[in-house]
């Protein structure tokens, strides 16, 4: 009883401490972080799973092998439930955006309008066609390819949706179309961000009014009128050079994780002796192959993402690479960027020297980067190391087909390639998740204190109305509840009755 009282006392003190030191933006950020990661957990399936399911189904049709069709059908159940959960959590994130970060409505009403509206259409295509796909599985007896075509429609919808949402996120990283406004106003190290299609006077009004009266600007139609004729090109956010790279990087990450998770499930069944070994191996070979190919492509996408970071967000680049404040050398990165290991990278002191006097937001940016620097460096390199191991796993997989690689795997690890692939599936899934979480955390944490890099801060857009610690805790509890409900659903469908269903070697 005394212990419980002490625990409650500590919790209460902790909550009071948080309440006294954290502002609305801090608490809103906490619930947003949890919400986005819960959403991402389900989202990766919506993005990565169609490729796995459709590949399995296509192989089944071409080879006239029912095992592949069954594998695809069983996988499509998970596709369905994770899609539903992804839609729910996506709704949560979207509502969270307009309710908790209500100032971001101005973003949706301006540079994010085109991608957000197109995303709605993509979502509709996705949700209608996934219903058709699941309902008509095994119904096309003569024209089996028709079912795959419906699935491709879902794949198109999910990718278009991802592309558009990432266009918005990319614009928050690199506000394309603002020309040299960011460099001239707050962050002098930022290069020109495309053509100046956003009216600089209106942009200046926005970035000066928002910190003064906050997102309450939107509550006054008259004040909002000050932003009329904001842009001459509402499509500009779709032509952001950051966007294509981010899109491929994210899709490949989703594919690596879902393919390895599929492999893990099948490896689990093989190791536990559930179902036919041949059936499970068929699926495992395909899913691991997809993971391997995606991991090779991901290395290229990751390199391109790093180059974009170096070009547009030098302060974050310095933090992730651990460049000292006075600058320093990083032979590998230098070799990748300049073809020579001797390039000197200026540090944050150099960036600070570029700031004009009185640029408090520029100073705040460097201060935030320095504060988060060690964490950013650690999580960034946990992503890199995880990625490298995943690529090695991918290479090892080809030992199933290459005598040389088989010899290398067996020589180094003292295990059969088959065993390597079975256990490598689990390692790949775990590392894929670590890399993905670390990568996204780097991207979002690195942007502090900006909501839109170089233009709008967190404090400018947060809805300070009633975001209390209790409210924050309630929302986080709900978010975690959804995650647990989703995981429970997956467990019920795929694991609970596995043993019973596999009595007698029934395929499943």
């Amino acid at each position: 009883m005394i212990t419980l009282t002490a625990i409650f006392g500590l919790l209460n003190d902790g909550a009071m401490n948080i309440a006294s030191t954290w502002n609305a933006a801090n608490m809103a950020e906490l619930m947003t972080i949890v919400g986005i990661f819960v959403h991402a957990f389900f989202l990766i399936f919506a993005l990565g799973f169609p490729i796995i399911v459709l590949t399995l189904e296509s192989i089944g049709i071409v080879r006239k092998d029912d095992d592949f069709i069954k594998l695809a059908r069983n996988a499509s159940k998970l596709w369905g439930i994770t899609f539903a959960a992804g839609a729910v959590t996506g709704t949560l994130v979207e509502f969270g955006l307009v309710v908790v970060w209500s100032g971001s409505i101005a973003l949706i009403a301006s540079m994010a309008a085109a991608p957000m509206i197109i995303e709605l259409y993509a979502f509709l295509i996705e949700i209608v066609l996934i219903g058709t796909y699941l309902t008509t599985f095994n119904r096309f007896k003569k024209w089996k390819g028709t079912h795959v075509l419906i699935g491709l429609g879902v794949l198109f919808g999910s990718n278009l949706s991802a592309y558009m949402i990432l266009a918005v996120n990319s614009w928050m990283q690199v506000p394309w179309g603002t020309g040299s406004f960011v460099a001239q106003t707050f962050l002098p190290w930022v290069p020109s961000l495309g053509p100046q299609v956003i009216n600089p006077e209106k942009l200046k009004t926005l970035v000066t009014v928002l910190p003064t009266i906050g997102s309450g600007l939107l509550s006054s139609p008259g004040a909002f009128q000050l932003l009329s004729n904001f842009t001459s090109n509402p499509w500009i956010s779709l032509f952001n050079p950051e966007q294509n790279v981010t899109y491929f990087h994210n899709v490949l990450a989703a594919l690596v994780i879902t393919a390895f998770l599929t492999s893990s499930y099948l490896a689990f069944k093989i190791l536990k002796g559930y179902g036919s070994k041949e059936y499970n191996w068929k699926g495992l070979r395909v899913s691991f192959l997809i993971a391997a190919v995606a991991s090779f492509l991901q290395a290229l996408a990751g390199d391109a993402q790093g180059r974009i970071l170096y070009t547009f967000q030098r302060n974050i680049f310095n933090a992730t690479e651990g460049i000292p404040a006075n600058g320093g050398y990083d032979p590998i990165v230098s070799l990748l960027l300049y073809g020579s290991p001797n390039h000197f990278f200026p540090g944050s002191n150099y960036l600070a020297s570029l700031l004009p006097s009185g640029d408090t937001l520029g100073q705040l940016t460097l201060s935030a980067t320095n504060t988060f620097g060690p964490i950013l460096h650690t999580i960034y390199y946990s992503m890199i190391i995880s990625g490298v191991i995943i690529v090695i796993l991918g290479v090892g997989y080809f030992g199933l087909y290459s005598k040389i690689l088989r010899g290398i795997v067996q020589g180094i690890l003292r295990m059969k390639v088959e065993t390597f692939v079975l256990y490598g599936s689990f390692a790949g899934a775990a590392l894929g998740i670590i890399a993905s979480v670390a990568g996204w955390a780097t991207r979002e944490m690195g942007r502090h204190p900006w909501t839109v890099y170089g233009l709008i801060t967190y404090n400018d857009v947060v809805n300070s109305h009633a975001i209390t610690p209790v409210f924050t805790a309630a929302i986080i509890a709900l978010e975690i509840g959804i995650l647990l409900a989703g995981i429970w659903g997956i467990y019920m469908i795929y694991f609970k009755k596995l043993k019973v269903k596999h009595k007698g070697g029934v395929h499943y």
Partner: protein
């Protein structure tokens, strides 16, 4: 003048989405409440027939639910894109009701997915609990979202201040749920949705009870009839209450409706729904009253929503005998390219056709009871 273009396309986009959304979402709300009732009765009476019936209904509901859900997202984004100020004012003044609705969406969709996928996979009592979460979530959504409509009819809890020659809309600290228009409006949307779904279920149960004279369908038929009668009468009562509160607190809307005869038509439709539900007590009349009740309750709900919301025109938010015009609250930042809403409407038509085709396949070609036999 791009403001005019934004107003036109904003009304077209939000209007089309809103009416299509409530068309589907009312069915989902009603079924979310009715289905667990059948399961609970099945559990209490140890009658497998009720379970099978509830399962069939769930298979229909999940498909409609997904479509209804996506339209809710459309509404939010269209509102943010075309009427950012309106959405901002609503999210600030109605912070808690909207958050409650958001929580309801999450609870409803997750529990619906679990309810459907875990049928026969867990203990019946646990499954019933999941079903109750599904019902509670659906009711919470309507609870929160109706506060927005109530605010637009009667801006209770809104503080209007002036500074630097500008007008700002904020909260005056009053609980927006104490808005006198809110409670009857919300209850009406709950009850009419349940009445509508119960009439559809009643039609379904009646047809099946005639096709096979099993006790299962006889029993479900009686329960459906009882639900339809109770909620039809409640709908009529809450509609009258809503109109009374509009008369008291939203004169502009009330007069706009009354002058066109819409108040009388709404009340007459409510009376028809109630009479039709009572007529189903007759074995002779039920053949016609069940489908007629479904159509009449749909017409009533849609008619009232259209009549009340168009009566606000040209105002988005009504304040006594005047209001805030839609052109004042429209996005002033730039002209949203017309190709976006035009493409959306085109896509909506194509996807509606695909969706209805899928429903046809799911309901009639391969209904859930035949699926297991074919798929193996």
């Amino acid at each position: 003048m791009f403001i005019i273009s934004n107003v036109f396309w904003g009304i077209a986009s939000v209007g089309a989405t809103f009416f299509l959304h409530i068309f589907f979402v009312s069915l989902v709300l009603g079924l979310s409440v009715i289905i667990p009732i059948f399961e609970i009765i099945g559990y209490k009476r140890k009658n497998e027939g009720f379970y099978r019936f509830a399962r069939r209904l769930t298979s229909y509901m999940v498909r409609v639910d997904l479509f209804a859900g996506v339209l809710a997202t459309w509404l939010t984004v269209f509102l943010a894109a075309y009427w950012p100020s309106l959405l901002y004012i609503a999210t600030n003044i109605l912070f808690y009701p909207i958050t409650l609705a958001l929580a309801g969406i999450m609870i409803a969709l997750v529990s619906t997915a679990l309810y459907w996928y875990t049928w026969d996979e867990m203990r019946k009592t646990t499954h019933i609990v999941v079903g109750l979460f599904m019902a509670a979530g659906a009711l919470m959504v309507a609870f929160g979202m109706n506060s927005i409509l109530a605010l637009m009819f009667n801006p209770y809890g809104v503080k209007i201040t002036s500074a630097m020659g500008l007008t700002f809309f904020g909260s005056n600290g009053l609980n927006p749920l104490a808005n006198p228009v809110f409670l009857p409006l919300m209850l009406f949307s709950w009850f009419i949705s349940i009445a509508l779904a119960s009439f559809i279920v009643l039609t379904f149960a009646f047809i099946r009870s005639k096709n096979d004279f099993t006790e299962e369908f006889q029993n479900t038929f009686k329960i459906s009839r009882l639900i339809s009668i109770v909620f039809s009468l409640l709908s009529a009562g809450t509609l009258a209450w809503t109109i009374l509160e509009l008369h008291n607190y939203s004169q502009y809307v009330y007069l706009g409706m009354a002058s066109r005869g819409f108040v009388a038509i709404s009340l007459a439709l409510a009376a028809i729904v109630a009479i039709v539900s009572l007529a189903s007590l007759s074995e002779e009349a039920i053949r016609y009253s069940a489908p007629l009740g479904a159509v009449a309750s749909y017409v009533l709900f849609m008619f009232f929503e259209i009549a009340a919301n168009t009566a606000r025109y040209p105002f988005m938010i009504v304040t006594n005998n005047t209001g805030i015009s839609s052109s004042v609250l429209i996005n002033p930042m730039f002209e949203i390219p017309a190709i976006l809403p035009v493409a959306g409407i085109g896509l909506l038509i194509v996807m509606m056709a695909t969706f209805l085709g899928t429903l046809y396949i799911a309901f009639f070609v391969f209904p859930v009871e035949r699926r297991g036999k074919i798929a193996g």
